[in-house]
Subunit: 192 residues, 2 copies
Amino acid sequence: MSYPSSLTLARSSGSSVAPAEVGSDPRPPVHHDIELQPLQVDKSPEEKFREFLAIRGEKLTAPRRALVRHVFNAHKHFDADELTAELQERGEKVSRSTVYRTLRLLVEAGLLRELRLTNRTAYEHDYGYPSHDHLHCSECGTIVEFSNEDIRNLREAISRSHGFRASGHKFIITGICEACRRLRNNRRRPII
Amino acid sequence: MSYPSSLTLARSSGSSVAPAEVGSDPRPPVHHDIELQPLQVDKSPEEKFREFLAIRGEKLTAPRRALVRHVFNAHKHFDADELTAELQERGEKVSRSTVYRTLRLLVEAGLLRELRLTNRTAYEHDYGYPSHDHLHCSECGTIVEFSNEDIRNLREAISRSHGFRASGHKFIITGICEACRRLRNNRRRPII
DNA sequence: GTTCCTGCAAACCATTTGCATTGAA
DNA sequence: TTCAATGCAAATGGTTTGCAGGAAC
């Protein structure tokens, strides 16, 4: 069976260097700006999680199910407190502790990936989503995803030459996004 | 005037893919494993810091001087508490708060770079040290530095294609270092 | 002198944990 | 029926901050 992966907002996947694509308003320090196509996967995240738990003799409870469903319902970056708030707004009974505990499990299960760009840990989909890296705007905090296959090769070559066996990597490019740069320029030469 | 930069432990700088070089004991979760040549710089870190402070109308005090001297006396990764301990062992009167405050200044001044691999922030030399990236052993916590010029090009190409103006990047390869891999293998097939 | 800096202790804030209770298998 | 999960509140641990006294410019 094929899980249709109802992720939102997919764009150009870009093999060597992907074309530009920038969001409109740069003010709120929120993330997103999704560019990649979700992968077709044969099991739903929930099912995948249940299996992971079963192997360890652990249980898929109501709060865990609500959480994993909610998280994979929209493709975006989020942190523990945002998630807690969203779940509670929806009337789901999930405490902050359980959110933290479950997020840790989802990372161990390979469903989510951690991203430490600020003091709060951000999470993103790993299961059903292609390997990618991030551009991080230091002005507005926007996170843009991109995919570049050279990076993987580079990572392998470097690891090999250092006797490392790579299991993953993080490549984060920090800078100013196009929208913020334009705002800056407009401020410098204002229309009188 | 040329500052001779008394950094310790330099090794192969490696342009495209540097040769392997691995430390001996992988147990303690401490960092290091330096591979790059320090750069020749025209001002000492202390002098550079003094200038930075002067511009902002701030002062180079005794604790700050002790700190910047100590930090640039040896090339290694360290965190705030390690540094506080080392300074106090040497009889320098620097409180933890001042260490935190001064580290932040040194980052702003471009003398140090922050590295967030664990829950504690690690610091490393930026001034007088070439741009580089890191291999991080998930088993023993060792950090190995490497330098690869393709990364910079990749970063520029990707940034350009996304309308970003890059100001920096972090490329961290996670995996198992050679020493830890050997330990694992020995454990799997023990000598009876 | 004025302004900035220091140390101390307290505050902060994200995350973790102990424990009594509840619930999945 | 058993072992694990939950929620709450308290603990943790790295980092920041308010403030009164102390130093640089």
